[in-house]
């Protein structure tokens, strides 16, 4: 409905909305309300832009904007296509919800250095949108690094001994992976392919045919393990360590923005740099599928053993992320759609779970699952949302998770990978094993010995519960009406 030139500027505005908010937030540090207003304004503008672009992308055209031509053959450029749109919509919408939740959480616990917190929050969202809209591997790498750096102060927010250890591990893995593996891979790809721009379709990648198979394999696995944010097994150790951060950080970033960026980059590289045909020809897809399924299974088993609620959610994230990579690795159209839609479903479900963990902590200062006995009756809304989100994680019918699991299973069948189907079923069993007891104990269990439960309903403040319920509702809604996001995913297919 707007003129085409508006759509040229829209991605830039979306990108820079939170960037522009950064100085404003920093200045209005002394007046919290004004500061929060800036965050909301930026979040609103960003979502509006992304939403407008969504309409335009649905109409079938791709927006290309070149910011700076950095090298004769390379430029920092934005490109809005349906693949990027899925992730952009999710992260910009969830930023609004997370912003409200964060304000409630920070005010509730009167955290120090809130201004720095909000500044880094805005910066990391700008980086997330940058990754979503990047047109070539260089731009994506730039925003990937920016995300790592801007989330460091968030992870190290408490500035105590645990924060120190967690932040150090966080940076070691992320920077080690990106500078150590992705940078050389990117440069060698540039050396052999002559360009880093993503291919148009997902079939033919940009790697020229003549390159030696060993080089392609090395490059592929450098990218796979280089993007350490995707939490694939050997490079996942930073994620549980980063749970030291305050809950809003672990909610938005480690359930949605940071990890999704990792998975998004990995899938972007797999589809648009290597391309399905090359992966099929060298059977890279199958190898990745097996690696990733190892992650799914072991992460779920570890999650079983964790009594701390956030640690269990962290390991569940590690295994759920690998679903997305598994979907794409299977290379069959249905599996790819399943993988991509899981980005959306997992985002909404996991953010609800982390919000619940935060709300429980604010209300009752309880962290471990064993202490949650009988709390369901005291905090019905929180635990209701928790139950809905758990269903989505497990993949039960009415909720979003079922859609992606369904597509994954059909895709695995098309690809004729019986072993993968076994892995999917086994992991579903494991999901049930580590989510169901939490819900059951909360509603029907007895409180731990010697502690009497307060009578009546005593929830966390409304400003925290509202986002929880909203997120759970959306998670339910995209389960019932998946077409909302599936139309984008379907456009990715050739």
């Amino acid at each position: 409905m707007f003129s085409p030139s508006f759509y040229q500027i829209a991605p830039v505005i979306a990108l820079c909305a939170s960037l522009a908010a950064v100085p404003l937030i920093a200045i209005s540090g002394s007046r919290p309300n004004l500061r929060e207003f800036w965050t909301f304004l930026a979040a609103g503008i960003k979502f509006a832009m992304v939403f407008a672009l969504a309409g335009w992308v649905l109409a079938g055209n791709v927006v290309e904007v070149e910011l700076i031509r950095v090298l004769p053959e390379l430029s920092i450029a934005l490109r809005v296509d349906s693949f990027g749109m899925v992730f952009a919509l999710v992260s910009s919408f969830l930023w609004i919800i997370a912003a409200t939740y964060t304000i409630g959480y920070m005010r509730g616990l009167n955290e120090h250095a809130q201004t720095r917190f909000m500044v880094c929050f805005a910066l990391s969202l700008c980086a997330a949108i940058g990754v979503a809209f990047s047109a070539n591997l260089l731009t994506m790498y730039i925003f990937y690094e920016m995300l790592s750096l801007s989330t460091y102060p968030l992870v190290a927010h408490h500035q105590d001994r645990d924060a120190l250890g967690g932040a150090r591990k966080y940076l070691a893995f992320l920077l080690g992976g990106s500078v150590g593996l992705v940078l050389p891979a990117m440069i060698v790809i540039f050396a052999i392919a002559g360009t880093l721009d993503f291919a148009d379709g997902i079939h033919a990648g940009i790697i020229p045919d003549g390159t030696g198979t060993t080089l392609v394999v090395i490059l592929f696995f450098a990218c796979l393990f280089g993007f350490a944010k995707n939490g694939i097994m050997p490079m996942h150790a930073w994620l549980p360590g980063a749970m030291v951060a305050p809950t809003p950080v672990s909610a938005l970033l480690h359930a949605v923005a940071v990890v999704k960026v990792g998975v998004f980059c990995t899938t972007r590289v797999m589809l648009y740099v290597f391309g399905i045909d090359l992966m099929d020809e060298l059977s890279l897809g199958v190898i990745t599928a097996y690696i990733v399924s190892f992650t799914i299974v072991t992460a779920s088993i570890i999650a079983l053993t964790k009594d701390n609620l956030k640690a269990r959610l962290a390991y569940s994230t590690v295994s759920q992320l690998s679903y997305i990579v598994l979907g794409v690795a299977l290379l069959s159209p249905m599996a790819i759609q399943g993988g991509l839609i899981h980005i959306v479903n997992h985002a909404f479900a996991k953010i609800t779970l982390f919000f619940c963990a935060g709300a429980i902590y604010v209300a009752t200062h309880k962290k471990n699952i064993s202490e949650l006995g009988g709390l369901g009756r005291v905090m019905p809304f929180t635990f209701g949302a928790f139950a809905v989100a758990s269903l989505s994680m497990i993949g039960a019918p009415p909720v979003g998770g079922f859609v992606s699991k369904w597509y994954l299973l059909v895709g695995a069948l098309d690809a004729g990978q019986i072993a993968i189907i076994m892995v999917l079923l086994a992991s579903t069993m494991l999901n049930v094993a580590y989510f169901a007891p939490v819900v059951y104990q909360a509603f029907f269990g007895k409180p731990p010995a010697g502690e009497v439960l307060p009578t009546g309903v005593r929830e966390a403040p409304l400003i925290m519960v509202a986002p929880i319920v909203l997120a759970a509702a959306i998670s339910l809604f995209i389960g019932i009406y998946p077409e909302l996001m599936m139309q984008f995913v379907r456009m990715v297919m050739p």
């Binding site: 950095v70 090298l71 004769p72 750096l149 920077l175 060698v188 305050p246 902590y361």
Partner: protein, 516 residues
């Protein structure tokens, strides 16, 4: 008229400033400071004019000294490469001059104008070396800049004298090897002008002459000693780290970079590409040396407790990058090496200024001085972060693009050792600077380490009154005269990074030697 005299004026203006500063002994510090600024600004203006002229009509300026035709007289040659380095040297000198208002006055309470005279003399030497087209003239200017750097470094505290003495001895060995190399070339060719030498050396009968090879290896060995390439770098760290703040800001970024420029000039102007990479088959050994320099330099820097020692070892490592880039023998490697001269000059200047500001304010030079720097000196902290990002090679800064070209060149040439070394060096640099940022962010690490056991668990903390509020640290920012150059340098790191295309297309692309 003024334009075609620009090449000579670039060098004469700082020389006259140095002489006037010595003559007028009774000048107040402010007047001496003002005079120095005018001198540096003048030479920057003329070098920009010269570079502009070179770019517009796309061929080198040959300025005949004393109106004598080249092989007889001496000529200044300003082409794309030397024009670029001239602008870099004069810009860094101007920024350091602006920076030096407070630190120079504190370092030398008396004889400030003599200190500034030596400052201007060093800049004259560096500019003269870059523009000179005559091999022997380059030796004389090499000695001038070496001598004035001995003088500036000897202004430091007690231990500086011994460090400067070692530097003097090693520097003289380097310069004399270079002179001996000129001797061998002069015997075999009879000429001293670079282009004339190149023409004679390329003649068939001299292709396999042993003396020319010995002459080349002596010259390169001498330049490597002056450049502190890895095995010969022992003198650089304690010489630069014992110096005053302003001296370190002037010498560290420029001296080694101009020596790298001289190496490039010798390799690609005096000798041709195929001569170096065919008849002198050193490139394999040199690439190993460069990789060792990069990795060992960075690892030793990581192990340092003193801030300036850390930065000087980074300089040693960066020299490894440039040498490797030049010896990888392809266009991308050469572009990476030249671009890295620019990038590294600015990066080192930015870091030395920021660390100088911290030392100026806190008086400590150990890593502990970094505690709570984000609150105390926010602007300095941001400059430090940008400098560190550039050394690590994080994208928007120019450090990333120079590594981009270097790795690309090394990959095309199949020098995987060098690629691995560059990556390891960047990783170690990342660890080093995040160690520094950790101290800055977390405050006193020692106290944190010994804190009584856990009890924090996940998520937020216990007390409701907010975390033990960190000690309210008074904001003690560096003085304005230090902040302006720091911010300009940090900004230039990013601007240079974003405008790499222009720098490569208009400057470095033209200077790529034939044969690549």
């Amino acid at each position: 008229m003024m334009i075609d005299q620009a090449p000579a004026l670039i060098i004469i203006v700082p020389l006259f400033v140095s002489l006037v500063l010595t003559l007028a002994g009774s000048l107040g510090p402010r007047v001496a400071y003002g005079l120095l600024l005018c001198g540096m600004a003048g030479s920057l203006l003329f070098s920009l004019l010269a570079l502009g002229q070179v770019v517009t009509d796309n061929q080198a300026i040959h300025y005949r000294m004393g109106d004598w035709p080249p092989p007889m007289g001496i000529e200044l040659v300003i082409d794309h490469l030397s024009g670029l380095v001239l602008v870099l040297v004069s810009a860094c000198a101007l920024l350091t001059a602006i920076y030096s208002l407070r630190t120079a006055a504190e370092d030398n309470p008396d004889r400030l104008n003599h200190y500034y005279a030596l400052f201007a003399l060093l800049v004259t030497g560096l500019l003269g070396m870059t523009a000179s087209g005559d091999v022997f003239n380059l030796y004389v200017l090499l000695e001038i800049s070496a001598l004035s750097s001995y003088g500036l470094l000897a202004r430091g505290r007690g231990p500086a004298y011994y460090a400067t003495f070692k530097y003097l001895i090693v520097g003289t060995i380097g310069a004399c090897f270079y002179l001996l190399g000129i001797g061998y070339l002069y015997i075999m060719t009879g000429s001293l002008n670079m282009l004339d030498l190149a023409e004679i050396i390329s003649r068939p009968e001299l292709q396999d002459s042993v003396s020319i090879k010995i002459g080349f290896s002596l010259m390169i060995l001498g330049v490597w000693i002056k450049m502190a390439l890895f095995p010969l770098h022992a003198w650089l760290p304690n010489a630069y780290s014992k110096a005053g703040i302003t001296t370190a800001c002037l010498i560290a970024p420029l001296m080694t970079k101009v020596s790298v420029y001289i190496m490039l000039r010798i390799m690609f102007t005096v000798f041709s590409v195929d001569y170096i990479f065919d008849s002198i088959a050193w490139s394999q050994v040199v690439i190993y040396l460069a990789s060792a320099a990069a990795v060992i330099g960075m690892i030793t820097a990581l192990a340092q407790r003193d801030l300036r020692m850390m930065l000087t070892y980074i300089v040693v490592a960066e020299i490894g990058y440039m040498t490797g880039g030049a010896w990888v023998a392809n266009a991308a490697g050469y572009t990476g090496a030249v671009y890295h001269i620019l990038a590294d000059g600015l990066m080192t200047l930015c870091l030395f200024m920021a660390v100088g500001a911290v030392i100026y304010r806190t008086g400590q030079t150990s890593l502990a001085a970094m505690q709570g720097i984000f609150k105390r000196m926010p602007i300095t902290a941001v400059v430090l972060v940008i400098g560190a990002a550039s050394i690590i090679g994080i994208p928007p800064t120019c450090g990333f693009f120079s590594k981009f070209y270097l790795i690309q060149g090394a990959a095309q040439a199949g020098a995987w050792v060098f690629v691995a070394a560059l990556l390891i060096a960047s990783l170690v640099a990342a660890v080093m600077f995040f160690k520094m940022l950790e101290i800055a962010f977390f405050g006193d690490l020692k106290a944190l380490e010994q804190e009584p056991g856990g009890g924090h668990g996940h998520g937020s903390h216990d007390g409701h009154d907010g975390h033990g509020a960190l000690p309210a640290v008074a904001r003690q920012e560096a003085p304005l005269s230090m902040l302006i150059p720091m911010v300009i340098t940090a900004a230039s790191l990013i601007i240079l990074g974003l405008y790499t295309k222009e720098v490569v297309n208009y400057f470095i692309g033209w200077s790529i030697p034939a044969g690549f």
